[in-house]
């Protein structure tokens, strides 16, 4: 192999490694953000229950606590999606993994990541349109009267990150697929 080729490959690998680190960091940070919201909701719910128990003392529950939990948990779950994809955390049946051999498994990984990328794109796009729907109707929640599109829009953060991360995962599995052409026949 010529020196130039080797160097080109190395700098490609370096760039990929930087990208890999960056995407991993992004997925982790967004998941932690979702976790922070989840913990805030836990504290809020505990305060709300305490307030409700102490109504005789003039305290009360946090107004609209159920609505906040719903909107907050939705935000958290959307934020968790990229991390699960990056971490290859989805449930699958590995019964035949050993039987398939390296080549077939890499093809399947690539196909699965491509479908997931498509799904994440659809989810984000439709969520965006859903946000627009809610925005144009000015639909509000029952108690707090905050506009539902805001909760949708917040969830877009996780949904868009999910598209970016699953796009990267396609690249990741494509690289793994192309990396070992010598093992194609195993």
């Amino acid at each position: 192999m010529a020196d130039g080729d080797q160097q080109g490959q190395d700098s490609g690998t370096d760039m990929y490694q930087t990208l890999n680190t960056g995407i991993g960091w992004l997925a982790r940070v967004i998941a932690l953000l979702g976790g922070a919201v989840l913990i805030t909701l836990i504290v809020m719910t505990c305060l709300s229950i305490t307030g409700r128990a102490l109504i005789p003392l003039g305290l009360g529950p946090v107004p609209g606590d159920f609505e906040l939990v719903e909107a907050g948990v939705a935000f958290s779950i959307f934020s968790f999606m990229p991390w699960c994809q990056y971490n290859r955390g989805h449930a699958r049946v590995d019964l035949f993994q050993a039987t398939f051999g390296l080549f077939v498994n890499r093809v399947i990984d690539l196909i699965a990541d491509l479908i997931m990328f498509g799904a994440s794109y659809l989810i984000a796009w439709r969520l965006y349109l859903g946000t627009m729907d809610k925005y144009s109707y000015h639909e509000t929640t029952f108690i707090l009267q905050f506009e539902i599109w805001m909760a949708y829009a917040a969830s877009l953060l996780g949904a868009f990150t999910f598209v970016i991360v699953s796009g990267f995962c396609v690249l990741r599995s494509a690289r793994a697929f192309l990396a070992n052409p010598t093992e194609l026949h195993t």
Binding site: A36, S48, E70, A71, M81, Q85, N87, F100, A112
Partner: protein, 440 residues
Amino acid sequence: MSNIEIGAWSFPILLLLIFIRIPIGLAMMVVGAGGTYVVFGSTMMTMGQLKHLVYGTFSNYSLTIVPLFLLMGQFATLSGMSKGLFKAAESWLGHLKGGVAMSAIGACAGFGAICGSSLATAATMGQTALPELRRYGYSGPLATGTLAAGGTLGILIPPSVILVIYAILTEQNIAKLFAAAFIPGILAAIGYMLVIAIYVRVVPGSGDALEPRPYVERFKALIAVWPVILIFLVVVGGIYAGIFTPTEAAAVGAAGTGLVALLAGGLNLKKVADSILTTANSTAMIFTIVLGAGMFNSFLALTQLPQTSAQWVTEQGFSPWFVLFCVLVLYLVFGCVMDSLSMVLLTVPIFFPIMTALDFGMGAEEFALWFGIIVLIVVEVGLITPPVGMNLFVINTMAPDIPISQTFRGTAPFVMADIVRVAILAMFPSITLALVWLIY
């Protein structure tokens, strides 16, 4: 092709996708969306549905309990409570033959009361109890088998994530389902202890008895686990007393276990971040399956397959018990290769209408509770059966010196106990329903 045929064909396609290792939730989404397209001839339906389905699923109030219980389980593993539970159980049971293994089961049951996941229970108790079992000279298969089986108590004893999902699918009251799971959960623990008692007598040298402890020490050890008892009583008691909703109970439980972990010095920023990331991973995995199942089931409803097959089964005049038997065998077989949550989400929407159409001689709600518990137990058996029993692998990575084949062998008696228990619970529904009747 008629709609029914489209519905019927979707199953082999879905199973094919699942068995070539496409993530289960994703496979269900693809088949659900694809099937809807075939029925309607356009993508409009799915595209319209997607605008609000995903947000609607992720913000569903009943489902918000899932990430909260998962986080609670993560905090519970960091709280050090598993050690206290094991110590307490050991001081009471250690002097029996095979007592240390029985203690591990007792501790798993206690841990299951604050943790709604089998894997987390198996992993946490494995770390605590496995070294002890080996130290006292318990044989490899018995040690790993005990802990893999004990882990399933995590999901059987409420809180339980799978019961939450079942409750939503079948529109049942979560609190009543938790109540129904309680006695079968205790029976499971007792059954496993009996298995150990028999095992150590049949296989000599596999496990011995310790010196009995004085009662002062026993009660001291029991009092030391007060946080577990308190959290369980607040969470479960609060739901039954009507003080809070199951979601609120999960939030309180997460706060309680988090606090205990903090006071025990088990929580620093890095540990909290790790707990969040583990919770994030499981939550996203579960909700992907829930989302996929939602799309797949709305497609199935379009084809009217569930109703038609329910009608067909009743028209055949099969004995209800025969149908139940077939369904349970199917669960056991599929449980060997599929994870329990996917199985519940995939099959309950089809089996439930079929089973409700049959007459088991009880009310609709009683039937739903009883069937839910039985299904929960049979799908959990899948966690400890080869080739892909997750609990077996979790425990096996902790004891690398014990070959997996030995772990398989050690678990077999526990699987037998599970099957006997399912048969008993199926024959006597009142065992499951007694506590529900008592409370409501």
